[in-house]
Each structure stands twice: as structure tokens, then as C-alpha cells.
């Protein structure tokens, strides 16, 4: 790059500048960051504002450069060759009138965009240079040399909403309501409970006894409890009858159900 600029300034005529630039470019070919970078450098040899650049001429310059590089057996990356092909196409589009019914962007549009890209790249390079030319922290201006440590103090605040408060209160005042569901079945006797109970009791009941006498103490009064206990005890007795431990009988429909321990094997 530097070679190029140096030679550019010294050049008195464009052709000389171009010639020297071409040589410089070849020397530096690996220093270019892709076809756009190279195009930008080439466009400088036109010594005009990037917005009035001749894209046709630029395309020619580029193609000449590629040919030259090829003749010097310089290995060019594929994207340089793709760009060359595209520029050749662009050149033809710019030079030949568009075929009727042809689709796609016109040569002028493509050329304008290329010019825009070059101008934008150049602008960003100028910006980058300006940025790096600014005063910089630690080089031109400085922060405090001995920063003072800032002690971190952790302070905890607690929050609660009115809702939390009310729910908390409701929770305490209705503790019983808030018991888990299963815990709440104080009016329910399970069949397992009834089974346990009957297994313990049946040994003492040698003769026919009413089922209701097997209900747990106190469960006979409350209708809810009685219902549950009766059902559970009846189910348990069926289970025990099935197991051959007891016998069940009922005189007639709706008459009391009676059970007794089944006679021992020996008796």
C-alpha cells in the first residue's frame, strides 16, 4: 500500500502512475484484503472522487491486473477470479445496450452499487483512522492511578405484600382447612383399617354377631362416620370370607348382616 501511495504521488502522468501502481500491486498482492480492497486501491489511481469514478475503467484496470498477475504466475484466490468474471460481465453490460425484455438490474445499477461499496469502504477506513487518531485512554489521557477500593456492603431488605399478609393470616386461622386432603378424611374408615380391626376382633367372636358391632367405637353415632365404617367393615368382611376366615349371613333383604369366625380346621 505504502509503495503504491508513494509512487502515486511521484507520478506525473496517469499512465506512469498506473504502470507503477500495477507493479506495486503485484508486489503487494497478498497484502490485499480481497477484491474490494484491491478495487478501492485501483480506483485511487483514477484520482477522482469515488462517486464519479469510471466503473468501466476500473473494471478494465482490475482485469488488466488479474491478467498481469496470471502472467507472473501469481496465485490468485478464487474470489479475485470470480470478481474478474463479474467485472467483465458488468463491463459488457455497461457498453452494450440492454437486450429487449432482459431481466435483472441494469449495468448502471450494478456499477452504482459497486461505486457505493467502494465509497463506503473508503469512508469506514477514514473513520477507523480518525478513531485511532483520537486521544486515547492510557495514552493521551489517564484515569486515576490509585483507584480506591469501594467496599461492598450488602444490605438486605425484606418485602411482603398485603396479599402475603392476608394469606398468611388466612393460613393460620384456617389451619384445619388447609390440611392436605387425605388428612381431612376423619369421617372415613378405609377397608384396610376395617380389616385390621376385624382381624383383631374376630377371634373373640365365636358366634353370629351383627356387623355393626364391629364398627369402631364412637363411629356409630355420626351418620357420616357410620356410613363409611359400615361400608368398610362390610367390604373387609367380604374379604375375610373370601379368605375363608369368617362366614357371613343375612336373614332377608335389609335385615342385619351377621358374621362369625369360621370353625377351625380341626373343629
Amino acid at each position: 500500500m505504502d509503495n503504491l501511495f508513494a509512487s502515486e504521488e511521484q507520478a506525473s502522468t496517469q499512465s506512469v502512475a498506473e504502470r507503477m501502481a500495477a507493479e506495486a500491486l503485484i508486489v503487494d498482492v497478498r497484502g490485499y484484503e480481497g477484491p474490494l480492497d484491491l478495487l478501492l486501491t485501483l480506483s485511487r489511481t483514477q484520482k477522482v472522487d469515488l462517486r464519479v469514478i469510471s466503473v468501466t475503467e476500473l473494471a478494465e484496470q482490475y482485469l488488466r491486473f488479474i491478467d498481469h498477475a496470471k502472467s507472473l504466475r501469481i496465485e490468485l484466490a478464487a474470489d479475485y477470479l470470480v470478481m474478474a468474471a463479474w467485472l467483465a460481465f458488468l463491463k459488457s453490460r455497461l457498453l452494450l445496450p440492454p437486450e429487449p425484455g432482459e431481466e435483472g438490474p441494469t449495468g448502471e445499477e450494478l456499477a452504482a452499487h459497486l461505486a457505493f461499496q467502494l465509497e463506503r469502504l473508503q469512508a469506514m477506513r477514514d473513520c477507523a483512522a480518525k478513531l485511532m487518531g483520537r486521544d486515547q485512554l492510557g495514552r493521551d489521557f489517564f484515569a486515576r492511578g490509585v483507584p480506591e477500593t469501594v467496599e461492598r456492603v450488602r444490605k438486605v431488605t425484606y418485602s411482603a405484600t398485603l396479599l402475603d399478609l392476608m394469606q398468611g393470616y388466612a393460613r393460620i386461622r384456617t389451619k384445619d382447612e388447609f390440611r392436605p386432603f387425605v388428612m381431612d378424611r376423619d369421617a372415613i374408615l378405609t377397608m384396610e383399617q376395617a380389616l385390621d380391626r376385624m382381624r383383631g376382633l374376630i377371634g373373640y367372636a365365636g358366634d353370629w354377631t351383627g356387623l355393626e358391632t364391629y364398627l369402631p367405637e364412637g363411629w356409630g353415632e355420626d351418620p357420616k362416620r357410620r356410613r363409611s365404617a359400615t361400608a368398610a367393615t362390610f367390604a373387609a368382611s367380604l374379604e375375610m370370607a373370601k379368605a375363608g376366615q369368617i362366614e357371613i349371613r343375612q336373614g332377608e333383604t335389609f335385615s342385619p348382616i351377621q358374621i362369625r369366625k369360621k370353625a377351625d380346621k380341626d373343629g
Binding site: 469501594v150 467496599e151 461492598r152 402475603d164 393470616y169 388466612a170 393460620i172 384445619d176 382447612e177
Partner: protein
């Protein structure tokens, strides 16, 4: 139209305004030291940026030829008198330090918000609904003992305070909620707290057990009578 090159010169011109004082010319400094005000600026910048205290000699070594760092320092020290930053002498050297009375600013408080514990919320709720409430009463209602920490926390938060002592045996202290508590929860009065019925109506309580099946829970809490039109409280 802006040519990128023109642009560059324009902005750099504007930027150079920032650099009010050009570095003294090498040759010029041989004959003439910069004005004292300028020397003071230099000492200020050096002391500010330096990682350790700087001696007069080192200051002068770093400043243009002919500067009088001592004198500049005198002005600088005077300038910083009573400020938040001071020029201090450390042995034979000088340094800038923050004013000692502002040391408390060198703390960064990070505030962490935590949810109040369930125990604290319940204790607070009981005090709010039953105030004045003794610790024994709180424990009776909660069914568990109230830890000292919980009460202390609520006292510290200034959501509860001590009320009058009960005139009962042992003269136990009572707790009541504070104005801060009311402010925090947006209440005018502790009596504005909604009663159980309203809580239930608002869906805050499950409406599960039908009446009559729950032993020991009087439906008409005394608080309920006080809170009449609190339904809007639950609207949002």
C-alpha cells in the same frame, strides 16, 4: 457534498479545539517555563494519574524545563482545600486522596430484596389482626412458638413496635403495628384489613369445607365486623 477527505479535515479541526494548551515547544521551554497556572495543571494531572506518591524532584523531571513544582504544588494544595479531594504529603512525596470525611462514600451498598419468611409474615399478620398482641397470644394462634429472631426482625424493620403492657399477670409486653407498616401495605388503619369472610369471598381462602364440618373455627371473627367495604382491595 462531503468528500470523505474533506470530512476528515473538518472534524479533526474541531477536535483540536479540545487541546487548548499545546505542549510547550522544546526550544521555548529552554528559556521560559510555562505559566504557573499551567504548571499547576501539570502537577494536578501527574498526581492524579500516578500510581504512587510523587516527589518534587520527579515532578520537575517530568515537567518542562524550568518549572517550579513546589510552588505549583502550593497553589494546587490551596485549590483543593475543603474539596472532596485533597493533596496530601506522604513522606517526601505528594499524592491526591479523597477527603477523609467522605470515606463513607467509598462503600457501595447493594440492596438485596428478600421475601419475608413465612414465620415473620404470620407473626406480623397476627399482630396486625389482633393488636395489641402478646407473644403468648401469637404463639397460641400460630400453634408454634415465635422465635426471638422473627420478632426482632419485625421490630428492626419498624413494622411492629411495643405497645402497652397487658395488665394481666406477668404484665407481658404487647406488639402493635406501626405507621410504617400501614404505609408499606397501603392501609389507613389496621382495622381496614379484610376479615376471613372477605378473604374467602376474594378467593384467598379455599371455600372447601362446608359449614358445620370444621370444629373450632368461629365464622365471625371480631375483625370482620370492622372491615366493611374492603372488597376493592382485591380488585388488583
Amino acid at each position: 457534498m462531503a468528500d470523505p477527505h474533506d470530512m476528515a479535515t473538518e472534524t479533526s479541526a474541531a477536535e483540536s479545539v479540545a487541546a487548548e494548551m499545546p505542549a510547550p515547544d522544546e526550544n521555548q521551554s529552554l528559556f521560559e517555563a510555562p505559566p504557573m497556572g499551567e504548571q499547576e495543571r501539570m502537577v494536578e494531572a501527574i498526581l492524579f494519574a500516578s500510581t504512587e506518591p510523587v516527589s518534587i524532584k520527579e515532578l520537575e523531571d517530568r515537567m518542562p524545563h524550568g518549572c517550579d513544582a513546589s510552588e505549583a504544588l502550593t497553589y494546587l494544595r490551596k485549590r483543593y482545600e475543603g474539596r472532596g479531594v485533597r493533596v496530601v504529603r506522604v513522606g517526601d512525596c505528594y499524592a491526591m486522596r479523597t477527603a477523609p470525611d467522605l470515606g463513607y462514600l467509598m462503600q457501595k451498598e447493594t440492596v438485596e430484596t428478600r421475601k419475608l419468611s413465612r414465620a415473620a409474615i404470620e407473626t406480623l399478620a397476627i399482630i396486625a389482626y389482633h393488636q395489641p398482641a402478646t407473644r403468648a397470644e401469637i404463639e397460641e394462634i400460630r400453634g408454634v412458638s415465635v422465635s426471638r429472631g422473627t420478632v426482632d426482625q419485625l421490630l428492626e424493620m419498624e413494622w411492629i413496635r411495643f405497645g402497652r403492657r397487658r395488665m394481666s399477670p406477668g404484665r407481658p409486653v404487647t406488639f402493635v403495628v406501626t405507621q410504617q407498616f400501614l404505609d408499606h401495605f397501603g392501609l389507613e388503619n389496621a382495622r381496614d384489613l379484610p376479615g376471613l369472610k372477605e378473604l374467602r369471598a376474594a378467593g384467598l381462602l379455599e371455600n372447601r369445607p362446608p359449614p358445620g364440618t370444621i370444629p373450632g373455627l368461629p365464622e365471625n371473627d371480631e375483625e370482620e365486623d370492622d372491615s366493611v367495604n374492603q372488597s376493592e382491595m382485591f380488585e388488583d
